[in-house]
């Protein structure tokens, strides 16, 4: 099996090719074409222990709602997209610009305690649109682009779910 792995973190984005061949419990692994000395076992569901040239690493994998993977290592976290190489179509993380209509979604479940803009109002990027209360904290939801509030889908007092669309900015 050959996979393309794209790792994104605040430090940047990198691409890797990983070739895997399973023999019994072991994996034979090549990274970017070079065979690597790696010993890999599953410690718990979605937790892998990897000894890579002797270095002990632990990787925890969770699938996020958008289908990408979150990879936790001891000290850092990556977003990963893994694709079988034959289905690789040049699509890359982070290459979509904040252009066109932007959907503003709730980052977590909570209650809309205040709506700060009106439909049709002009907004700047970073301007507060609404305040959602969750876990006793009030969290301001900001515009991801400068433009016009095209549509407001919620009102004050309304409960919202995580990822629910709150507004459209065009």
């Amino acid at each position: 099996m050959k996979f393309e792995v794209q790792l994104a973190s605040p430090a940047g984005t990198r691409n890797y090719t990983v070739e895997l061949e399973r023999s019994g419990d072991q994996w034979r692994i090549a990274l970017n074409g070079e065979p690597v000395e790696a010993d890999l076992v599953e410690i718990a569901p979605n937790t892998l222990s990897i000894l890579l040239h002797g270095e002990s690493h632990e990787i925890r994998v969770t699938r996020s709602s958008d289908g990408l993977l979150k990879i936790q290592t001891g000290l850092r976290e990556f977003t990963a997209e893994v694709t079988d190489q034959r289905s690789w179509r040049g699509r890359r993380l982070g290459h979509v610009e904040a252009e066109g209509r932007q959907q503003i979604t709730a980052p977590m479940a909570g209650k809309v305690v205040r709506v700060l803009v009106k439909s049709g109002e002009k907004v700047e990027v970073g301007q507060g649109l609404l305040v959602v209360e969750a876990m006793k904290m009030q969290n301001e939801i900001r515009s991801t682009k400068s433009g016009t509030v095209e549509r407001l889908l919620v009102q004050e007092g309304q409960a919202v779910n995580a990822s629910e669309t709150l507004a459209w900015i065009s």
Partner: protein, 506 residues
């Protein structure tokens, strides 16, 4: 001594209190809202009773329901923890009416010291310096504007009933006043059921240093020394330590004496904390009194060796503070980090949800006070505090090294936590040198964050791990997979299908 104590709280502090009860041979009675049935405090308590829906206004803030449980279960005392009703004088009054001992100060002392404005008045009378500002709650915007003209900007709006950074707003420009007033007031109303706010001068780069006091009902009041809590995000403490890196024995004595004087003036009993701001000249200003146990009480416990919750219970039972405690000397250094269910990479948005897996650190010098466990779902309805990770060491340096080491061991999946924030703070040279103040962290977070230098090996391992995980998923999903070679075809189709559903990128 008491026979049975009602713990009018939830989460880690309820667990902390029931542990003290168990060690004293006192039965513990927990209460829980509908979403807390599986919470750790319910599992560990001797008894537990439901008190209503998730909304705290319908459960943990309902004095009538608490008194009902106290009666039903035959409790002879009640511990309020912190937050919720802990600083509401109506609770000790209701306890008195029900013949239940309230583990904390009297309602009168709470009013004299706990209300921010009354506390400031008393401080003035007790010769304890305080920050310039109002002595009374603000009723109108005009009133606030008039005061600001007097003392100058910036000012801080604070909830009269509040604590924990809630209902608090800094005002730098007069034009921000109206919005800040509205926000602080509404947050205060939601958090404490009391929307009143007051106003004080906002000192620039002060340090937050607080004195832990204990007062028995026989007139003895002692200071257990200070905690420094200057590392705050949006006025919310996130790291606390004892001793304070700036402390001198002279300043400790002066601040301790001021705190004891104030407590005496207010007729205070039980455990309490007097909060001060300290400026660059080591001048200190009274801020407020917290008439209850603090979240950060463990750092004092670690350096003094005392168990504050047991002492609270003993004081409430009428015991005398032994003289020896007045001369207690702190040993080593302790530091606490507050692990919250929130996402530091995404503006610290709360992150409730199910804890899929976790590994908790332990070993020398490490204490963990928490109310969570693997498989538990962190509810959306309360504070996001998951765990308090507390390290003790012979020196501040050793303490920081132990915290760092234990944060590397700490893992949680399923929800986000702010552990990475602490890994960053503990590596900052300013923090390591102890050069901190109350806006230090907010300023740090505005600076561009260079990711920790990571050896290439770790990133390689992440790439390999992601690919192997995917291969294992494919194999598990494919019914004809066990032989290995045939698994690629179906898995490719699965990947295709999934990719087409992915219509946005983060």
């Amino acid at each position: 001594m008491f026979r049975k104590i009602l713990i009018a709280n939830r989460g880690e502090i309820a667990v902390r209190i029931l542990r003290a009860c168990r060690e004293l041979g006192i039965r513990s009675v927990a209460v829980f809202s509908e979403v807390d049935r599986k919470s750790l405090h319910v599992r560990l308590a001797d008894e537990a009773y439901p008190i209503g829906p998730a909304a705290s206004g319908e459960s943990y803030l309902r004095i009538d329901k608490l008194m009902d449980v106290a009666r039903r279960a035959g409790c002879d005392a009640l511990h309020p923890g912190y937050g919720f009703l802990a600083e509401n004088p109506a609770l000790p009054r209701a306890c008195a009416d029900a013949g239940v001992t309230f583990i904390g100060p009297s309602a009168e002392a709470m009013e004299a010291l706990g209300s921010k404005t009354a506390g400031r008045q008393l401080a003035r009378r007790s010769d304890v310096p305080s920050v310039p500002g109002t002595n009374d709650p603000i009723e109108t915007l005009q009133q606030a504007q008039a005061l600001i003209e007097n003392i100058g900007l910036p000012v801080l709006l604070k909830a009269v009933a509040g604590g924990g950074g809630k209902g608090m707003r800094v005002v730098n420009r007069l034009s921000d006043l109206a919005a800040a007033f509205r926000d602080a007031s509404s947050e205060a109303q939601n958090s404490f059921g009391d929307g009143r706010v007051y106003l004080e001068k906002y000192l620039v780069k002060p340090r937050h240093v607080e004195i832990q006091i204990l007062a028995d009902s026989h007139g003895r009041v002692v200071s257990l020394g200070e905690r420094e809590c200057s590392v705050q995000r949006r006025h919310q403490k996130v790291i606390e330590e004892a001793p304070s890196p700036l402390m001198t024995s002279d300043l400790r004595k002066k601040m301790g004496d001021a705190a004891v004087r104030l407590a005496r003036a207010g007729g205070y009993t039980n455990a309490g904390t007097v909060e001060f701001l300290v400026d660059a000249n080591l001048d200190f200003y009274f801020l407020e009194v917290n008439t209850r146990l603090q979240v950060e009480h463990p750092v004092t416990e670690q350096v003094t060796g005392l168990d504050l919750v047991k002492l609270q219970i003993a004081i409430a039972a009428g015991h005398r503070l032994p003289f020896a405690w007045e001369t207690i000397t702190p040993r080593g250094h302790a530091m606490e980090v507050r692990l919250y269910a929130e996402d530091p990479d995404n503006n610290f948005f709360p992150s409730p949800g199910k804890i899929l897996s976790r590994h908790a650190p332990s070993g020398p010098g490490i204490r963990l006070d928490e109310g969570v466990y693997e498989g538990w779902t962190v509810p959306n309805d309360y504070d996001p505090l998951l765990s308090k990770l507390i390290a003790w060491g012979n020196s501040r340096e050793e303490t920081i090294a132990r915290l760092r080491r234990s944060l590397e061991e700490y893992t949680v999946t399923g929800i986000k936590t702010n552990a990475a924030l602490f890994r960053r703070i503990l590596a900052e040279p300013e923090f390591v040198r102890g050069e901190i103040h109350t806006t230090w962290l907010d300023e740090l977070l505005l600076r561009k964050h260079r990711a920790p230098t990571l050896e290439q090996g770790s990133e390689d391992a992440a790439a390999i791990g992601a690919a192997v995980w995917q291969a294992m998923q494919n194999a598990a999903a494919s019914p004809t997979s066990s032989s290995g070679a045939s698994e690629e075809v179906p898995s490719r189709w699965k990947l295709e299908g999934r990719k087409q559903q992915v219509d946005r990128t983060p």
